[in-house]
Amino acid sequence: MTTMIHVNNLSKRFGKKRVLSDISSEVEPGEIIGLIGKNGAGKSTLINLMLGLTEPSDGTIKVFGQAPRTKATKAKIGVMFQDSFGLDRVRGNELIKLVRSYYSHPLAFSKIVELADLGANLTTMVTKMSGGQRRKLNFALAMAGDPELLFLDEPTAGMDANSRYDFWQQIHALSNSGKTIIVTSHYLEEIDDVASRIIFLKNQQVLYDGALMGLKKRFTHTLVEFDSSLPELKLTTLVQSGDLDSHNQNHYVFVTEDADAVVRELAPEMANLHNLRITQRSLDQIFREVVKEGD
């Protein structure tokens, strides 16, 4: 199978400000890549470079083996930008018809309407739609050309909880049908559920590029959480196999590599502990920890 995207020693500067530095990576067909990093880490810039909307300062990018902005490349990609696009005085269904006509092998109109899931609001003027409705419409429009490669930049921003759930169900279905997807999101637990690979950007570089499990293994700590009115000093003296991660009001979180040992150490005070929980770190927690490191 051909590599979808080939990024080689890519750097990007805006004036004197370096945004990306010496990035190299490849994207294979069928991968669902979660592109993460804090605000300003260069996620959107990397996507814009892959789309050919901005030029690299150094290095090269090939999409489907070609420069990003060729007509042939653009016919095979779909993009949902961070900020939704629209058109004045045009209804949702009219915009779908227009965008379909841009592609030689578009999805059926009814399929796009189904993806947009706007019900009666489909005939609302696009500029009068709510933020969430416009996100859904933009997703459907990104799919209009039946793309092989889909870029989703903060796709669920502005959607309500139900819409977000439905959206990720659609992404699961797309991943099962072999689409290649590059997605950024602030809702990291959502990426956690869907991504087969994580590219973590920090300090203009790729901090981690690999399977999600690998990232989790690198930060294998387990969390022991509970509520207690005992003083912090007493608990930190008691727990020797873990470190106090946070203490808010009566809620304590200890981080450890050996949860069993921490529970044994807490056993004498078990009567004073409530809601004891042992959890693995979510991507969200790993993200916050990694982002904090070295800042």
């Binding site: 901005t54 990609i77 004045d88 050309g145």
Partner: protein, 247 residues
């Protein structure tokens, strides 16, 4: 072709059919001026004034739509991130601009036809079919450089700056080129500037062709220079945009 046809269809709906502001402004203002100056404040004016002022108001209508409507539509598409979507889709910006140009030419012809109808049916202007058609076609063709300027203007900055620039260009251009009142009533310095403007050159071309006098080659040459300048400016503006994006 399918993309182009659909883009034209959508543009007709959004720029003409669902845009009452256009009807009120691009057609209403010149029509009102025309009626006002030919029907109400017409004391002491020669009979030929109804015809020359018809030409002036037809040009004024196209000036309004070519600069104001074009600049605002392209600006709105840019602000709605629609042009960026075009950039990542298989259609080119040229298809988008060409469809816009096509719709604006239709729009221009509609404007001129409405003002001609007012002249014929309400004011009672009488002239040969050829001359009605001369106004319709020559003024429409001459609006092309104005439209290209309109596109360039949409890239100069934010909504406020674009609208300021548009107003600073359209109304002085209308006055200086003698569209509102005859150029001979203006001071010499302003006549010199006015004669260089494309809107003045269009009015001379149309009036001369209607009178069947010698073909005003100098004016046609002037219009061609404006066309080249408009295209040149658009190329430069797009290049600046690309450089900005690349940085």
């Amino acid at each position: 072709m399918n993309a182009f046809t659909n883009q034209v269809k959508t543009n007709i709906i959004r720029i003409i059919v669902r845009n009452p502001r256009f009807m009120a402004f691009d057609i209403g203002v010149p029509a009102l001026f025309y009626i006002l100056f030919t029907k109400v404040m017409n004391q002491g004016l020669p009979a030929s004034f109804e015809k020359t002022y018809l030409v002036s108001m037809a040009i004024y209508a196209t000036l309004l739509s070519s600069i104001i409507t074009v600049a605002n539509t392209v600006l709105s598409d840019k602000e709605q991130a629609y042009i960026r979507f075009i950039d990542v889709s298989p259609v080119s910006r040229n298809t988008y601009y060409a469809s816009m140009g096509m719709v604006l030419l239709i729009l221009t012809m509609v404007e001129i036809a409405v003002i001609e109808l007012i002249a014929k049916l309400y004011i009672g202007v009488s002239m040969s079919v050829i001359n009605w058609l001369v106004i319709l076609t020559v003024v429409t063709i001459a609006s092309i450089p104005l439209m290209i300027f309109g596109v360039s203007l949409s890239f100069v900055g934010s909504n406020t700056i674009v609208n300021l620039m548009v107003n600073l260009i359209v109304f002085p251009a209308a006055i200086l080129s003698g569209l509102w009142w005859p150029l001979s009533m203006m001071p010499t310095w302003s006549q010199t500037i006015g004669k260089l403007l494309p809107t003045y050159q269009t009015s001379v071309i149309v009036n001369d062709v209607m009178k069947q006098t010698a073909v005003p080659l100098k004016m046609i040459g002037g219009e061609l220079v404006w066309l080249v300048l408009a295209i040149g400016l658009l190329v430069v503006v797009q290049k600046i945009q690309r450089t900005k994006r690349a940085q």
